[in-house]
């Protein structure tokens, strides 16, 4: 690891201030960033730890919306959304392993936007609203505009993900085909059914990162059953290929995982 200063602000305001420093970078739970630092793939001047800031942790259910604060660890999300939004709780409870879930945060995952991470699929499928806070104050952005390709988001300089607002679906499910070594999604599909239509978001598959499978959404809005997807498939072109799965296999898994998610919703 290169040398850096670890800054521990006591409040969100202090964190935003600390992030104004040159080469400062926010540190969520560190479950991705710390391994990255060890490989010397990042060289921050200072790391601003968000984990200990009380106002950034917690879950609030307001009517048909679940609001999750950005520095809430996966294990807490799983625990606190279990009754209001069980599909999200189950997804959070299946990220990484228990020790990782005790540290890794929802905001960190969404800020990093790993193409195989679980949370981006949930946020996109639910049309979640993200609250980003930075030196100019707080702003809201919908998930469709926030995700901008692999590891790319609308987050600006000095901004952090402070809250995520999930509209609770009428029916929903997340199915993950687990990459057995990393526990990331080889392919993960989140299906969310709302009064005005069904949304389907896919992670782990595309070279462009998380995406919506709109053909499946149209078919499922007309008929919310696995049978509605029988004739549909996604092209292998643009899918990721590696030693774990070819683009063709990933494309195939998108169909399988979507049908399973609908069946389990």
């Amino acid at each position: 690891m290169y040398e850096f200063e670890l800054v521990k602000p006591a409040s969100l305001a202090e964190a935003i201030e600390a992030l104004k420093a040159e080469e400062a970078q926010p540190l969520g739970g560190g479950q991705t960033l710390i391994p990255t630092l060890k490989q010397r793939l990042a060289q921050p001047g200072s790391l601003v730890s968000l984990a200990g800031i009380p106002e950034l942790v917690g879950v609030e259910v307001k009517g048909k919306v679940v609001n999750i604060k950005g520095a809430t660890p996966h294990a807490r999300v799983a625990e606190l959304t279990a009754s209001a939004f069980p599909a999200l709780a189950a997804m959070a409870d299946n990220i990484g392993d228990p020790a990782v879930r005790h540290r890794g945060t929802i905001g960190g995952s969404l800020a990093n936007n790993d193409p195989a991470a679980c949370y981006p699929a949930a946020a996109l499928a639910c049309g979640a609203t993200l609250v980003l806070t930075g030196p100019e104050g707080a702003r809201e952005i919908v998930a469709d505009d926030y995700f901008q390709g692999m590891f790319a988001t609308d987050l600006g300089e000095g901004e952090i993900v402070t809250e995520i607002r999930f509209p609770i679906p009428e029916a929903s499910n997340y199915q993950k085909f687990v990459q057995p070594a990393s526990r990331f999604a080889m392919v993960g599909v989140f299906v969310a059914k709302y009064a005005d239509g069904v949304r389907v978001a896919v992670t782990g598959a595309s070279e462009e990162g998380v995406f919506r499978w709109t053909e499946a959404e149209t078919a499922l809005t007309a008929d919310f059953s696995p049978a509605a997807l029988e004739s549909l498939s996604v092209p292998a072109e643009g899918m990721m290929g590696d030693i774990h799965a070819s683009p063709e296999y990933r494309a195939h898994l998108v169909g399988v995982m979507t049908r399973r998610a609908v069946a389990a919703s």
């Binding site: 690891m1 290169y2 040398e3 850096f4 200063e5 670890l6 521990k8 540190l27 560190g30 479950q31 710390i34 391994p35 630092l37 060890k38 200072s46 790391l47 730890s49 984990a51 200990g52 294990a75 990484g96 392993d97 228990p98 020790a99 990782v100 005790h102 540290r103 070594a181 526990r183």
Partner: protein, 157 residues
């Protein structure tokens, strides 16, 4: 260098450490508590699992500075007293839950975390909770058996 203070195995400790010092380094090199092992250093193997404020974490994937003010328990702090073993440690010994022993501190600490949340886990629940702990000797059979045995012993206490 900043001074970091925390409670380790019930005792307050304080020492200087750089910002980038990992919790596992602080425990092993600064405090001399070498029971917590560094296996992979890439967050995969779980040999470095300790409890921070009652929750299992990988000490190689947390900075010592992040544990400022926290209550940390390592494998050295698990047993009730000198010369005694914790029931999970006894169960590992009696069920041959270890061979080379390198992964054992992490396995025991993860098992302790599990049994605190779920006093009588099923075999499947145990295997799932050990997802982040790798053992290259035992094939896990006897580790799972040891944890089942430990659950029984702790329930009987």
């Amino acid at each position: 260098m900043p001074t970091i203070s925390m409670t380790v195995n019930g005792k307050p400790v304080s020492a200087e450490a750089e910002g980038r010092t990992l919790l596992v380094q602080f425990l092993r090199e600064t405090l001399g508590l070498t029971g917590t092992h560094v296996g992979c250093d890439t967050s995969q193997c779980g040999a470095c699992v300790v409890h921070v404020d009652g929750q299992s974490v990988k000490a190689c994937t947390m900075f010592a500075g992040e544990a400022e003010g926290a209550d940390v328990t390592t494998i050295e702090g698990l047993a009730p007293g000198e010369g005694e073993l914790h029931p999970i440690q006894e169960a590992f010994r009696d069920n041959h839950g270890l061979q080379c022993g390198f992964c054992t501190p992490g396995m025991v600490m993860t098992a302790a975390d599990l049994l605190k949340r779920n006093a009588s886990p099923t075999e499947a629940e145990i295997r799932e909770y050990l997802e982040g702990n790798l053992c290259r000797c035992t094939g896990y059979q006897n580790i799972v058996k040891a944890i089942q045995d430990a659950a029984g012993r702790m329930a009987a206490e």
